[in-house]
Symmetry: C2
Subunit: 277 residues, 2 copies
């Protein structure tokens, strides 16, 4: 799975992930009354941004909010993504439960919905992550250091002379290969990205928090990149809600293009693209 | 919400929670082909056990596994529970996400589905729990020490001279009152229940792991009870899968009755019932 991601980054000259945090209360008014507003919205965003994104991330909270209908929107969106091209698809579910239940979650996101990756909360330990890792061709993205203020409450606690999130990375990196384990490392604390990179030189990081949450792309890259890029940077609100009007697709495309251009420049500067134009 | 729970415990002479971990691969063969097998199964289990249970807990993993249809089974089950009597209903969702997403999860489980309580993973800190706590009349059940082997990996780490799960309890008990915060404290480590009880004398604990996972009811009560009972003890597999045949309802009733009888004896011994017969 890691190689597929590296190939995508090379061919698109981008490491942009777009978060389809599609909120019924924030999407443009004129589509709220259609049959499946979340899917309509997602389709338009995907059509306009697919040239610049290597990954799309769907946060389950926004779909479950709509009940069984939201679940259908989710299924239709993932099918649509598959029909539109080659993307790395992430279920941002942040699940974590005992083995028996975790197995059901893994089946749901990997087998039933066909996602390439799912975010998993490590608090309950190894046996709650193992059922995801049994899918060798898929990717398990563990929460390490998140981008919200509450990250300080527990993730930054001193445990055995390191931060808890470092201990999470150290232990969990023994559970599977860098081919199948990624980490969520928030952009709002770029100084900690460098330390995490030392701990796991070969794992990809999914980095939220650039843009709306204040993270700085250049700093994130300086501190978190490795020789394979090693980062997917997520942007949600700044892209999908770039406009509240009928031009929301075009405005999303513009915002995605701007980020992709910055990313291409960084990849070029670091000579990380295999085939430069 | 806590007072409602205490009243339920008194009137039913029980602190039994039944986990509707209804697995399409484990429910009796003869109902697998009906229109909505999970709901049919749940209805039968509820009908036969409702005299002995104060709470029902629905683990979301088993419903999401069935896609949008599973979501409908969930909705129908919670509606059915409301029609059958007065129960404390728990969405065992173990969610945890940044504030914006957490708000959607809280709306989903509290407003849309109408659960009384939801389990929440504390790893991401205060702002990921706060949207649940805004529902003052509902109950937020934080994972502290879980009943699985992986609980040793992080929850039992030494953080600032205590275990991480103790630090979770200490910090989070400042976020809201014992009326609205409960903790998951696994039965497989009853020695730690006593310590947790010292930290939070007034909060209820949701205790999984009695039965199939090896926990001992008497030890759990010795170590975890307070003057209001303070415990809900969950049993799932030992009750709902007590039989694989057509008599599964009756066998579930028998298993629930046996547990309720043990619970009533403990409540009586400790003189915790307000109106003894």
């Amino acid at each position: 799975m890691k190689n597929r991601l590296i190939n995508l980054i090379n061919s698109k000259r981008s490491f942009l992930c777009i978060g389809l945090d599609s909120d019924i209360n924030k999407i443009p008014n004129h589509i709220r009354d259609c049959d499946d507003p979340l899917f309509e919205f997602n389709k338009e965003i995907i059509n306009f941004t697919c040239d610049y994104a290597v990954a799309y991330k769907l946060n389950l909270a926004f779909y479950e909010r709509m009940g069984s209908g939201g679940w259908l929107s989710l299924e239709k969106t993932i099918d649509y993504l598959k029909s539109r091209g080659n993307f790395f698809t992430i279920a941002d579910a942040k699940r974590g439960d005992i083995g028996n239940s975790a197995r059901h979650y893994a089946q749901t996101f990997f087998d039933n919905l066909g996602f390439d990756a799912v975010t998993v909360n490590p608090y309950m330990g190894y046996d709650t992550v193992a059922p995801f890792l049994e899918y060798k061709e898929k990717c398990t993205i563990l929460l390490a250091l998140t981008s919200n203020p509450g990250a300080n409450d527990f993730q930054m606690l001193n445990c055995c002379d390191k931060f808890l999130y470092e201990e999470v990375i150290l232990q969990s990196s023994q559970w599977g290969s860098p081919e199948q384990i990624m980490y969520v490392m928030g952009a709002t604390n770029p100084d900690f990205l460098a330390k995490a990179r030392e701990l796991v030189p070969g794992n990809f990081f999914l980095v939220p928090g650039v843009g709306a949450q204040g993270g700085d792309l250049q700093k994130v890259c300086n501190n978190g990149m490795n020789s394979e890029c090693g980062l997917i940077v997520n942007s949600s609100r700044n892209i999908i809600y770039a406009s509240e009007s009928k031009d929301y697709g075009e405005k999303a495309r513009k915002a995605a293009f701007d980020l992709q251009q910055q990313m291409m420049a960084i990849l070029n500067n670091r000579q990380l693209l295999r085939h430069s134009r």
